[in-house]
C-alpha cells in the first residue's frame, strides 16, 4: 500500500515523536490493513430522515468576555497569532 505516514502527519498538522516513530508506523499499517477489507456495496434504499434546520440567525450569547478568557492570547478584543505577513 502506497502511502506516506509523514505526509499524512503533515496534512493533519501533527508531529510524530521520532523516538516512537517505528512503533507508531507499524501499528498504523496494521490498522490500515484491517480497514482495507471492506467490500463494495451498491446503493440501497436506506434514506436517512431529513433534519429540521433552525434559522441561520446570529444571536448575542453575551459571553464574549468568558470566551476570551480561554484564549492563549487576547489583545485589544482580538485573538492574536504570530505574524503571517512579512514586510
Amino acid at each position: 500500500m502506497e502511502y506516506s505516514i509523514k505526509k499524512i502527519a503533515e496534512l493533519a498538522c501533527l508531529d510524530i515523536d521520532p523516538v516512537h516513530y517505528e512503533e507508531f508506523a507499524a501499528d498504523f499499517d496494521e490498522i490500515v490493513e484491517m480497514m482495507s477489507e471492506l467490500p463494495e456495496y451498491g446503493c440501497n434504499d436506506h434514506i436517512p430522515e431529513p433534519m429540521e434546520l433552525r434559522d441561520d440567525a446570529a444571536g448575542n450569547t453575551g459571553c464574549a468576555e468568558e470566551l476570551s478568557k480561554n484564549a492563549p492570547e487576547f489583545v485589544n478584543g482580538c485573538f492574536t497569532v504570530p505574524r503571517t505577513v512579512e514586510y
Partner: protein, 474 residues
C-alpha cells in the same frame, strides 16, 4: 450509608423525610473525596466542604433530583466548571455555557458533584489514554473501569456519585457499565440533544446515562429526553404508544453473527443464562441474522476517525486550548500546539481519519464504510420486524487488566458487540447479568429498535427484576 442507595431509593427516602438532600450530598461528597485517590474517577471534584453553594441550598426543594449528586463526564460542557476531555489540549478550558443535558439536570435540582475522568476525547476503551491517568475499577483495582466513560462508571459503582452522564460513540457507556457492574443506557441517536457535548464523531456521539438500577436510568432519561432546537439531529419522535412491557411474548432476537464472534466462555455463559431466564418467563427467543455485523468494526473506525480528524481540526492554539511556547511561525505554532496537546491515541485517530479522507483513498475507505453503514441500518430494520429487542454480550471479556499491552487492532476488534448498534443509531442498554470466576461483573446488552427506547428500558427493568441479585454496589 446514604452513598450506597440508588437514586430512586434516595428520592423515596427524601419524600418520607428519612433523610435530607444536604445529608445525601455531604455523605456522597465525603465518599467521593475519600475514594478519589483510589479510583481516580474524577478530573474535577467539588470539595466535601463545598456546602455553601446555591445548588446545595436547593437540595431540599421539591424538584425531581433535589439532593441527588450527579457526575458528568468531562467532555460535556459545564458552565464555569473546567471541561478538559481528559486532554492536555483543554486542560484549562472553562466553558461559558452548559450543555443542554446539564441544563436539564440543574433545572431538575441535581447537584453536579464533579467532572469524570475518561479516555482522551473519548477515544479508547479502558479510560487509560487520558492526560489525568487511568481510572481503576472499584471492584478490583488491578483492572480498568472500562472506557471511555470509565470515570462515570467507577464513580457510580464506587459510591462517589449516585447517577452519572457518560457519552457513547461506539460503546463508551455500555462497556464501562458492564465492567463496573452497573446499568448503562445509550439512547437512540437523536433522542438526547448533543448541544454542549464536545464532538468526537458527530454522527455517532450520544449522551448516555449510568446508574445502579434501570429505574435510575429511566429517571435520568425522562429528565433529559426533551426536544432541543440547538441540536438539529435532536428528534423527539417516540414510539411509546405501542410499547409492550410484558415479558410474555416479548420477541428477543439472538444475532447469529454475534454468536460467531469470540467471547470468553464465562461471558457467553452469563449472557446465555440471562437470555434463558427471560425465555423461562415467557419471552420468545428467535435466531436472526445481521450479516454486516462482521464489517461493522472496520467501517466504524473509518467513519469515526474521519469525523474525529475533521472535528479536532479546530484545536490549533488560537481561540482556546493549548498553545506551544516555542514556535517559528504560524504553521509551526499549529503543529507544535497540536503535537504537544494531543496524546498518542488521539493522534492515531486523527491520522487515520486524515488518511481515509485523503485524495485517492476516500473512495475505497470512507465511501465503502458509509455504504456498509447504510446496509447495516437496512439489515437491523428487517430484524426489528421479527423481534422487539436483541440480546447480546457487551464486551468479549469481563475485565481489562490495567497496563496490559494490546495492539490497537485487537483493542478495536473487541468493540464488536457495541459498535453495530452505534452505527445504526439504535438504543442499547447494559444490565449486569453475572460475574466471572474472579468476581468481575458481566453485562447483558439489550438493543432496541430506533426510537423504541421506552420499550427497551421496560424490557431491561423486567430482566433486572427477574435477575434479582443486587449487582450495583461496590
Amino acid at each position: 450509608m446514604l452513598w450506597e442507595y440508588t437514586a430512586t431509593e434516595l428520592i423515596g427516602m427524601l419524600h418520607r423525610k428519612e433523610c435530607s438532600g444536604k445529608e445525601i450530598i455531604n455523605d456522597v461528597s465525603i465518599r467521593a473525596n475519600d475514594v478519589q485517590p483510589l479510583y481516580n474517577s474524577y478530573i474535577t471534584l467539588r470539595s466535601a466542604a463545598d456546602t455553601a453553594s446555591d445548588t446545595i441550598c436547593k437540595a431540599d426543594e421539591c424538584m425531581t433530583l433535589s439532593g441527588i449528586p450527579v457526575a458528568v463526564k468531562d467532555n460535556i460542557s459545564t458552565k464555569g466548571i473546567r471541561t478538559t476531555c481528559a486532554s492536555r489540549m483543554l486542560s484549562d478550558y472553562v466553558p461559558p455555557y452548559d450543555a443542554f443535558a446539564v441544563e436539564r439536570l440543574r433545572l431538575a435540582g441535581a447537584y453536579i458533584i464533579g467532572k469524570t475522568n475518561m479516555d482522551e476525547f473519548a477515544m479508547g476503551s479502558a479510560s487509560d489514554t487520558g492526560f489525568f491517568g487511568a481510572v481503576r475499577n472499584p471492584l478490583d483495582m488491578d483492572y480498568s473501569a472500562g472506557g471511555s466513560s470509565g470515570g462515570s462508571a467507577a464513580a457510580v459503582a464506587g459510591g462517589a456519585a449516585v447517577l452519572a452522564l457518560g457519552t457513547d460513540t461506539g460503546g463508551s457507556v455500555r462497556q464501562p457499565a458492564s465492567l463496573c457492574g452497573i446499568a448503562g443506557f445509550c439512547p437512540s441517536y437523536g433522542a438526547v440533544s448533543r448541544y454542549g457535548l464536545i464532538s468526537f464523531a458527530s454522527s455517532l456521539d450520544r449522551i448516555g446515562f449510568m446508574g445502579r438500577s434501570v429505574s435510575d436510568l429511566k429517571l435520568l432519561y425522562n429528565i433529559i429526553n426533551v426536544r432541543d432546537s440547538q441540536d438539529v439531529t435532536n428528534f423527539s419522535k417516540k414510539n411509546s404508544a405501542e410499547e409492550n412491557a410484558d415479558i410474555k411474548g416479548l420477541r428477543i432476537g439472538i444475532v447469529k453473527e454475534f454468536s460467531a464472534a469470540s467471547a470468553d466462555s464465562d461471558v457467553t455463559a452469563a449472557v446465555n443464562a440471562g437470555i434463558k431466564l427471560m425465555e423461562l418467563s415467557g419471552a420468545v427467543i428467535k435466531s436472526v441474522s445481521v450479516p454486516s455485523v462482521s464489517l461493522a468494526v472496520k467501517a466504524y473506525y473509518i467513519i469515526s476517525s474521519a469525523e474525529a480528524a475533521s472535528n479536532l481540526a479546530r484545536y490549533d492554539g488560537v481561540r482556546y486550548g493549548h498553545r506551544a511556547e516555542n514556535f517559528k511561525d504560524l504553521r509551526d505554532m499549529f503543529v507544535r500546539s497540536r503535537s504537544e496537546g494531543f496524546g498518542e491515541e488521539v493522534k492515531r485517530r486523527i491520522m487515520l481519519g486524515t488518511f481515509v479522507l485523503s485524495e485517492g483513498y476516500a473512495e475505497s475507505y470512507y465511501k465503502r464504510a458509509m455504504a456498509v453503514r447504510r446496509q447495516l441500518c437496512t439489515e437491523f430494520d428487517e430484524v426489528f420486524r421479527e423481534c422487539d429487542i436483541i440480546a447480546a454480550p457487551v464486551y468479549p471479556c469481563a475485565g481489562i487488566r490495567l497496563g496490559e499491552k494490546t495492539s490497537s487492532v485487537k483493542r478495536y476488534a473487541a468493540d464488536i458487540f457495541t459498535v453495530p448498534s452505534s452505527m445504526a443509531g439504535l438504543p442499547a442498554v447494559s444490565v449486569p447479568c453475572g460475574k466471572n470466576s474472579k468476581g468481575l461483573p458481566i453485562g447483558l446488552q439489550l438493543i432496541g429498535g430506533r426510537y423504541h427506547d421506552d420499550r427497551l428500558l421496560e424490557a431491561a427493568e423486567i430482566f433486572e427484576i427477574l435477575r434479582g441479585d443486587d449487582y450495583g454496589r461496590a
